[in-house]
């Protein structure tokens, strides 16, 4: 039905400001998980800032570096890094999972010849790359 908006008195219900928590009386878990997913980026940014600061301290000499390493052993920092790690893992999990979902719809992203590559290969490739990257970095960090 097409309406003349000038002459018809309609009513529009505004979306709640906290729609991800409760919208028009209902809680939607998926909206909440979406917001957590987006929130992972704040921890990504904080991690980058802290790590950059750590590298910056190297220019200030061994004492500044050692003092900061010592403060990283304190309770608040440990708690922060535990939370940051959980969020970082949630980012990895959702990001790599969404890549697979993109491949699974319609044409997907990757085609081999005339066929869409089965999404399971994207899943294996992305989660596999995650595992390999993690192992390589850990190995290099411990042995270089």
């Amino acid at each position: 039905m097409m309406l003349d908006s000038e002459t018809t008195k309609t009513y529009t219900r505004p979306i709640s400001k906290a729609w991800w928590l409760r919208d028009r009386g209902h809680f939607n878990r998926r909206y909440f998980m979406f917001l957590l997913r987006e929130l992972t980026s704040v921890f990504v940014a904080l991690y980058v800032v802290i790590f950059t600061y750590e590298i910056f301290l190297l220019t200030k000499g061994p004492d500044a570096h050692a003092a900061f390493q010592e403060s990283l052993r304190s309770g608040p920092f440990i708690v922060f890094f535990v939370i940051a790690l959980l969020f970082a893992l949630y980012h990895s999990w959702t990001w790599l999972g969404l890549t697979t979902k993109m491949q699974a719809a319609g044409r997907g992203l990757v085609k081999i010849g005339t066929k869409t590559l089965p999404p399971i290969f994207i899943a294996l490739g992305s989660y596999g790359a995650w595992i390999v990257a993690t192992c390589v970095i850990a190995y290099l960090f411990l042995t270089l």
Binding site: T8, R13, R24
Partner: protein, 250 residues
């Protein structure tokens, strides 16, 4: 009959000539095991309160007219079984994010405008005469877009989309998915005529991939993935045209 049960259904009412804001009205409906929410609404209209307004047509999940909020979630009321909600009370409201015209009826003008804007039909640079026969397509080429062609324009995805709720200029899930559907069709040559709408500020870039559009879609169209695929394609094409400006502009 032994299988009759009674369920309480609270319906949002809005009668613009009488009231400035919507109100609620509760009905008690005796229902049979195989009744859907739409059956209950028709029962109310036929036997309890003839003034209740709502849209419906096919009753079999094809026409896309009977979408409403059922207990806060966008649903086709012809496919939502009452027994799944019993014995709890039910709330039936018009699709959110659209202006309410009366009771459960919303104004879909905005969606219709956006649908037209993406030109959801096959565009040819030059039509070949009928005598030259059909435009042929292989099964693999059909598979590329088939999922995105299942849309019935029920607008549940717009009701599910918080981005559309916050920014009504957003072209939105169904319209972009349908544009994508024609862009993927091997017979179509209209990509350039859709791109300025689909890849506009109000198009794909407004989407933050909440993904709820795909969850509520009764036809498994997966508009969220259609939008992300378009973002990937648009970004790669842009990169290609920067790296190789002499390349094919098409």
């Amino acid at each position: 009959m032994s299988d009759l049960r009674t369920i309480k259904i609270t319906v949002l009412r809005y009668r613009p000539e009488e009231e400035d804001e919507p109100t609620e009205q509760t009905y008690e409906v005796e229902f049979r095991d195989d009744w859907v929410v739409l059956d209950a609404l028709n029962h109310i209209k036929d036997h309890i309160d003839g003034t209740l307004s709502f849209r419906w047509s096919c009753r079999m999940g094809v026409c896309g007219s009977c979408g409403m909020m059922v207990n806060g979630e966008p649903k086709l009321t012809c496919a939502a079984m009452l027994r799944d909600y019993y014995p709890n009370e039910m709330h039936v409201e018009p699709l959110v994010n659209f202006p309410i015209v009366r009771d459960l009826v919303t104004d879909m003008t905005d969606f219709m405008d956006k649908l037209k804007a993406v030109k959801p039909w096959i565009i040819r640079e030059e039509e070949k005469p009928v005598s030259e026969g059909e435009y042929l397509q292989t099964p693999d080429q059909l598979k590329d877009y088939k999922q995105f062609s299942q849309c019935i324009n029920c607008m549940l995805c717009y009701a599910a989309c918080p981005v559309y709720g916050l920014e009504h200029d957003f072209v939105g899930p169904a319209a972009i998915a349908l544009g994508h559907r024609y862009n993927l069709d091997s017979r179509d040559e209209g990509n350039q005529q859709r791109q300025h709408v689909i890849a506009s500020k109000e198009g794909i870039w407004e989407c933050t991939y909440v993904g709820e559009c795909s969850v509520v879609c009764p036809k498994h169209v997966d508009p969220a993935e259609a939008i992300q695929q378009t973002k990937v394609a648009t970004t790669t094409n842009r990169l290609k045209s920067l790296v190789m400006p002499w390349g094919n502009k098409k």
